[in-house]
Symmetry: C2
Subunit: 217 residues, 2 copies
């Protein structure tokens, strides 16, 4: 094993340190967050930090980088209290990555890519039409991370639109059926394939697959 | 698209709501957190909520469920201010999942599985010997999530042990070279395969692959 100490980390060029620390914590989710400004300009930005925070009530979190530079997503979601989270597939990842380019505030990433905006059922923020999982969220709270100036944004799930073929009968969504991607570090795009699904673990019992057998509910 | 509204979510049986909300936010990281009690009993627990929080300083976060039931990992990491984060591979996922079984406090999950503990260079918490990425962390802070009683634990990266073949020359770690897994929901184990790595995005430029070409640093 190669050892990289705290001192080694401090001595790495910042971009290399970012590559390393961003990749070693494991695979990340790949999502596009859609918002709209009060003036009506839509915005779309890639985030690989969306994570599950709770299911009762249904809450998702994501990490925003420090507000030292302009953050269109943050300004918009604060202004209208709503945003969408949209899964990124193998057909979308190049356009999704491109949304990280610094376009001016009056240019929508929907117009700079082939991703299409979709407004549904009166929800104020735009969904991504091509995405097989589209989630409408309401802004709930934020937690400033004092160690580095990042912000944890907490949102409540208001509406889910999902391609029906992803859903098992117990409402588990098998993401690889729609070629949803995951991310390594800042810029690596990987395509996962489901290997197994395991039953509830009990002491001194062997782990059984529940992929094709009875589901425990 | 199938629509699942907030009211539909509320009406789902809790286990099904958990399956759905846990899976729709995308692929999760797959890690084992290793700790040791002041009495010397090691503990190993699977977490799929470890995420990158910052690289300068290098910080990782993870979400702990509410402390309403006994949390050995939390008690230990508070007591000794140290813990390890260890990647889960295709060879390890059944044992890793099994660490979620409720063993009593005086039974180490290392003894209940074939996962082996490894103490290195005086670091107080145990690493998982089989893991291709092993990270020693120091407890830094915690943020109580008032919406549901969960806790965001923030740790500083003190030491990284990594199989050298994962590292590109710019310190980006290609996780699929060691068959590191990712998780869907609470119990689905997927094996990702790297498809592409993309260059820094600039307005009005096509996204180029940097997998085999020059790296931008």
């Amino acid at each position: 094993m190669k050892q990289i100490s705290k001192a080694d980390l401090e001595n790495l060029p910042s971009r290399q340190r970012a590559n390393l620390v961003n990749s070693i914590s494991g695979y990340k989710s790949a999502n596009l967050i859609g918002t709209i400004s009060p003036e009506g300009t839509t915005n779309l930005a890639i985030f690989n930090s969306v994570f599950h925070l709770g299911s009762n009530p249904p809450l998702l979190g994501f990490i925003l980088r420090p507000l030292s530079e302009e953050r269109h997503t943050y300004n918009n979601l604060k202004a209208i209290s709503s945003y969408t989270i949209n899964a990124i597939t193998q057909d979308m990842y190049r356009d999704a990555h491109h949304t990280s380019a610094k376009y001016p505030e009056n240019v929508s990433e929907f117009s700079a890519t082939s991703l299409e905006e979709s407004f549904k059922n009166g929800f104020p923020a735009p969904f991504v039409k091509q995405s097989p999982v589209q989630i409408g969220c309401r802004y709930v709270n934020e937690y400033p991370i004092v160690e580095n100036g990042c912000i944890l944004v907490v949102g409540a799930v208001e509406n889910i639109y999902v391609v029906p073929s992803l859903l098992h009968h117990d409402h588990w969504a098998q993401l690889d059926r729609a070629n949803i991607m995951s991310v390594i570090g800042l810029d690596g795009y990987a395509l996962p394939h489901l290997e197994d699904r395991l039953g509830y673990a009990r002491p001194n019992q062997t782990q059984n697959s529940i992929l094709d057998g009875p589901q425990e509910n």
